[in-house]
């Protein structure tokens, strides 16, 4: 079976397949238990102690935040009953009354203040709420947040797992996150590291319209791609969080399974160190943008599960503007190189780490060979890679970035002067971009913000510190009888809706 973007379409098909396969062994004994295969274990149960999507998948079920994203990637209130903005830098947030943590204790503004302040101090997620100056309690359910300056993405920062509202009394207890307590649709049962995480439905969830639909959710960690697909095929799991592009056709053809695919916010790029020859020359960088065959990379590295990247963020982000100028054109690339003074005598290094990036680098290497550039690939172990690409010695390197919904969180770290030596690995500096970034953060009007970022995209692409390669698709498979599968650009979404009929 096939499902494109959401389950709505697939549910029609459901009926036909349903009948045909009534005696299939896929049928679950316990329909009230949903098994989800994760491709990697969660890092931590503390939402302020992790910063990765897999951990978020779990912590979103355990905890609530003040706002949440809907499937269109817009922030909508969750715990917040109502909010207002008395001034540019001030936000007054009132949470719903009667929200109870799993141990029955009611959530109050104490917890909100505590959580936001704790988030600011957590090494792992401190960057998320870094703009907050202070949090003050107004009454039992109301807090006032003051930002350091006018800060447009504020609401978006509150949807991050790092902004989860935690029960103060629990966090200050001695439990060390062995039995975390939250307010979410599901309660924690156990986490066997490397193996599984078990959650059960919170029957007292505050939002009766959004209750968890199945009684139990079990996350199983299955790191190997093929094994994960097989587990889905054997019915050992009901849904997998990622599917290798290679296995997509198999799932598609399997009448018992449905395939879901949606572009993600993860962009892959080949960065170039603009401080280091030959990439200090904008012509060379542009030449690279013409030289790389992105389609081939998508084919080889992703087995087709992605789309060409035409600018420095995913399309889903605010202010995205595609650059249509750069196409795969080796001739043009050669010309530019000649113009830059290189005539078939250029040697560069491409750095990479990991299998997919290795394949990507191999394709780029082959592409560059076509235009007479000799590239040698240097592989790194991940930890070493992160350090090395910050050292300033890097030439071209292959990396990726998974965006949060607000463009600021993506663009500022990557292109601001300040983050040279950190996330700005191509060491790109441009006064214009610097200004645009500042403007973008401060501008509260979405339309105007969009324009600012449009301009930023244009400028950066023109200067070409990156060759944007592709935006990968989120691909996942699920049992076709499973209902309520939703996909956001960041992956599995609204897991509490999963259920069998």
């Amino acid at each position: 079976g096939t499902k494109e973007e959401s389950s709505i379409e697939g549910s029609e098909k459901q009926e036909t397949t349903n009948e045909a396969n009534t005696e299939e062994p896929v049928a679950k004994e316990n329909k009230d238990e949903i098994k989800i295969a994760l491709h990697t274990d969660i890092v931590s149960l503390d939402p302020q102690g992790h910063n990765d999507t897999t951990s978020e998948t779990v912590s979103f079920l355990l905890f609530n935040r003040l706002f949440k994203l809907n499937t269109d990637f817009e922030a909508v209130p969750d715990l917040v009953e109502e909010y207002s903005q008395p001034s540019d830098k001030e936000w007054v947030l009132k949470i719903k009354e009667g929200v109870k943590f799993h141990d029955g204790v009611e959530m109050t503004s104490e917890d909100v203040k505590f959580s936001l302040e704790r988030s600011k101090k957590s090494p792992t997620v401190q960057h998320v709420l870094a703009e907050i100056e202070k949090v003050e309690i107004v009454d039992k359910y109301t807090v006032k947040v003051t930002t350091k300056m006018p800060f447009a993405p504020f609401i978006y920062t509150l949807v991050h797992a790092g902004s989860s509202i935690l029960p103060k009394h629990y966090v200050e207890s001695e439990d060390k996150w062995n039995n975390p307590i939250g307010s979410g649709q599901y309660k924690f049962v156990e986490w066997i590291s490397g193996d599984k995480i078990v959650l059960e439905r919170n029957e007292d969830y505050y939002d009766k319209d959004n209750m968890g639909m199945s009684k139990k959710i079990v996350f199983r960690v299955i790191p190997e791609d093929t094994s994960r697909t097989i587990a889905l095929e054997t019915g050992e799991v009901d849904i997998v969080d990622t599917l290798s592009g290679l296995d997509a056709p198999r799932v598609k053809e399997n009448p018992d399974l449905d395939l879901y695919e949606k572009p993600s916010t993860t962009i892959a790029y080949a960065g170039m160190n603009v401080e280091k020859p030959p990439f200090d020359n904008v012509l060379v960088r542009r030449a690279m943008n013409y030289a790389v065959d992105k389609e081939a990379i998508i084919e080889v590295a992703l087995n087709g599960a992605g789309v060409e990247a035409k600018s420095v963020t995913a399309e889903a982000l605010l202010g995205y503007k595609a650059n249509d100028e750069y196409t795969y054109d080796p001739e043009k690339a050669k010309e530019l190189l000649k113009e830059a003074g290189y005539d078939g005598d250029l040697e560069i290094e491409i750095w990479a780490s990991g299998d997919i990036r290795k394949k990507t680098a191999e394709v780029i290497q082959a592409n560059l060979m076509e235009i007479g550039v000799t590239a040698s690939i240097e592989m790194f172990e991940w930890g070493a890679y992160l350090e090395a690409t910050n050292s300033g010695k890097q030439g071209m390197f292959v990396l990726g970035w998974t965006s949060n919904p607000d463009p600021d969180a993506t663009l500022t770290p990557q292109f601001s002067k300040e983050s040279i030596g950190a996330q700005n690995r191509s060491r790109y500096v441009s006064d214009k971009v610097e200004q645009l970034l500042l403007d973008g953060r401060a501008e509260l009007n979405t339309e105007r913000r969009k324009e600012i970022y449009n301009e930023l995209h244009e400028t950066v692409m023109n200067d070409g510190p990156w060759v944007p390669l592709y935006v990968s698709n989120k691909v996942l498979g699920a049992n076709s009888k499973l209902q309520g599968v939703e996909l956001s650009p960041q992956g599995l979404w609204n897991l509490h809706k999963l259920h069998y009929k």
Binding site: T226, R250, E362
Partner: protein
């Protein structure tokens, strides 16, 4: 001695000295059909390694990406099919022979020479020596090879030699144990005492009298470890410590193709077969050599 006898010496020499040690071993090896099979297979690989460039062009066939010819089944054009970058697997195996044979044998060589020496010393001298060496090796054994490799490569740089060193070092304790066990069985023999009686120094005794009599387990273990070494090196190339892509190398081809195992078996099958054939030939040769080196089995 009477002079007639002495005059005969030249003649005697001609008659008997011809059978030098190596010739003798070779003569006996020749009789072992399996060993000959091993030698033939191994020679094919070695010749392949030497003449790789004449068999398949490196630039155009082994390393050049060809997006249009991705993942093709074996055919007349591509005997072993093509990989996910559209490169000819046959050409990659041919060119990979060089590196894989090299990595496998050299890293086993490193482990054997160092581990063997330590094992021999610790077995021969025993007592405190033994305890110190073996416990130190216990420590090395506990350090995972990946960590060792990361360290070596990050302090010495990522190149093939350092990979061999890394794989070699992590195999030292194993070889030491095997050699030590064998030495323990030999060192109390009377001919060792006899050697001491004629004034041989300890190192001479170890080299000339102890080790030659411990060959069987050492040969068996070494020939097998070549396979593990090839694959260990591949494991390292996976975390970026092995050969630089796109250099073809069997182990990496094998592990790089793991995702294709369900649909495109041939991608992993052929490199796997190449490794098996190599190890098979080494083992056949090793068995033969062991028997040939043992005059008792004549």
């Amino acid at each position: 001695m009477d002079s007639a006898y002495i005059q005969n010496i030249e003649e005697i020499k001609k008659k008997y000295k011809k059978r030098s040690q190596t010739r003798e071993v070779w003569r006996r090896l020749k009789k072992n059909k399996m060993a000959i099979l091993g030698i033939i297979i191994l020679s094919i690989f070695i010749l392949t390694a030497i003449f790789a460039d004449y068999i398949a062009d490196y630039k155009t066939e082994a390393i050049r990406m060809n997006a249009r010819e991705r993942l093709q089944e074996p055919s007349k054009e591509h005997w072993f099919g093509t990989d996910d970058l559209g490169r000819d697997i046959f050409a990659r195996i041919v060119h990979g022979t060089r590196i894989s044979l090299f990595v496998g044998t050299i890293s086993v060589g490193i482990a054997l020479s160092i581990g063997g020496t330590l094992g021999a010393i610790s077995g021969y001298y025993g007592g405190k020596f033994d305890n110190i060496i073996m416990r130190t090796l216990d420590i090395i054994l506990a350090v995972p090879s990946i960590l060792l490799a990361i360290t070596i490569v990050s302090s010495l740089g990522a190149n093939i030699v350092n990979v061999m060193i890394a794989v070699g070092i992590s195999n030292i304790p194993g070889f030491a144990r095997v050699v030590r066990a064998a030495v323990l069985g030999v060192k109390d023999q009377e001919y060792i005492e006899a050697a001491r009686a004629i004034g041989a120094k300890n190192h001479v005794i170890i080299l000339k009298h102890v080790l030659p009599n411990c060959l069987a387990p050492i040969i068996v273990y070494s020939t097998l470890k070549v396979a593990t070494a090839i694959m260990a090196a591949a494991g390292l190339s996976f975390i970026g410590l092995g050969v630089k892509p796109p250099t073809p190398e069997w182990g990496s081809m094998l592990s790089g193709g793991r995702a294709f195992i369900r649909d495109k078996m041939y991608i992993v099958l052929f490199p796997g077969l190449a490794i098996i054939a190599t190890i098979l030939s080494l083992n056949l040769l090793g068995d033969g050599l062991r028997d040939a080196l043992d005059p008792r089995l004549k």
